[in-house]
Assembly symmetry: C2
Homo-oligomer: 215 residues x 2
């Protein structure tokens, strides 16, 4: 069945791979699935046709036959549950990989989103310079805890999983801030994720859109 | 196999049901599963024994035989996947219920967490009175989109599911703010969730801890 996802026609990050379609592209590449991409403008994202697919007016969405999904974590899980390479077979290990998917999106990403909101949405507010260090400290607290749990392992729980895919994707958002560099083991973890052929192909595909050379 | 979860020894909300153990208790009640509770003090949450269970030093955790989990969404999913009552059988409907689980935690809850952070962690900061209306508007934007999607349905996608359980739980955090009252269909949706016998039992169990009368 043909898979079609949506992505920004003009990504706010200019093709640095931080838009959430990259996470879905990466999962599709790890699973070895071909997919098509429909680009959506900011205006179209707020129009009825797109809102019917995505009630919150965002990207990515995922269409496969009669199934229409939004929400990156759910799309990655849907792919991971049906194809080899993203979830272990052992039931307890599988449950823990899913646990890390939720941990990436529900516990590690929220303070990182606060930083993004402060830097962009509240960029011109008089309080932002004073708030940024507070937000950075909240992120550091999470990163410190995460680095303790990771220890000297390559991945969060045994082999690479969809949990790592989302955690690496979330941590990638911190690159411009310099915060990741304060935790060398996490920086190395992110680099291991970026080095995977599946990530490389996903990154190249979204960069091609930004460069106007999408195949 | 015995199930043991952790909860606050002294809940910051004084037993209003907003701590995340209520979400797990509710899922266990919907599935009809007995469970034990181990109460954890704020000090114990930061000590090695608890951090071995929960790397981010929070509650709830979930232990069942050799399986140890943290992260509320993952615990609710683990329960929902193995017991009737929280996920539909039809594969596409099941995938959409999981989609709403992620949407509750990754899209609807983050701006609500920002409000909690502003009101408590940044309560004494000079900028907080000026920031609160901005955060409230971000929440309103999400609630407006969610209320459009819900329409006049009872639940987000067919029968009650783990997606509704988490969405109702996330929206319950807004009760003190008055924002929920601006969206009558969402307020009614939350009230439907609260009226479920499983929620009632979960609420009573956590309130009993706060009242010092845990069974």
């Amino acid at each position: 069945m043909t898979i079609t996802i949506t992505a920004f026609e003009t990504s706010p990050d200019g093709g640095k791979g931080l838009a959430r379609d990259t996470r879905v592209r990466w999962a599709l590449e790890e699973a070895g699935l071909p997919y098509g991409v429909r680009l959506v403008s900011f205006q179209a994202m707020k129009e009825p046709a797109h809102l019917a697919l995505h009630p919150f007016g965002q990207i990515p969405t995922y269409e496969e036959g009669g199934l229409a999904l939004f929400e990156t974590g759910a799309i990655v899980f849907h792919i991971a549950e049906r194809h080899a390479g993203l979830l272990p077979h052992d039931p307890d290990a599988r449950t823990r990989a899913i646990m890390w998917m939720f941990a990436a999106l529900s516990t590690v990403e929220p303070p990182i989103l606060e930083l993004v909101t402060a830097k962009f949405v509240e960029a011109g507010k008089p309080w932002t310079p004073d708030r940024l260090p507070l937000i950075a400290d909240r992120i550091r607290a999470r990163l410190g805890q995460l680095s303790v749990r990771l220890g000297d392992a390559d991945w969060l729980d045994g082999a690479f999983s969809a949990g790592d895919l989302l955690m690496v994707s979330v941590l990638l958002r911190l690159k411009p801030s310099g915060l990741l560099g304060e935790f060398p083991s996490l920086a190395a973890y992110v680099a291991r994720g970026e080095a995977r052929p599946g990530y490389q192909r996903a990154y190249a595909a979204q960069a091609a859109v930004a460069a106007g050379v999408q195949a």
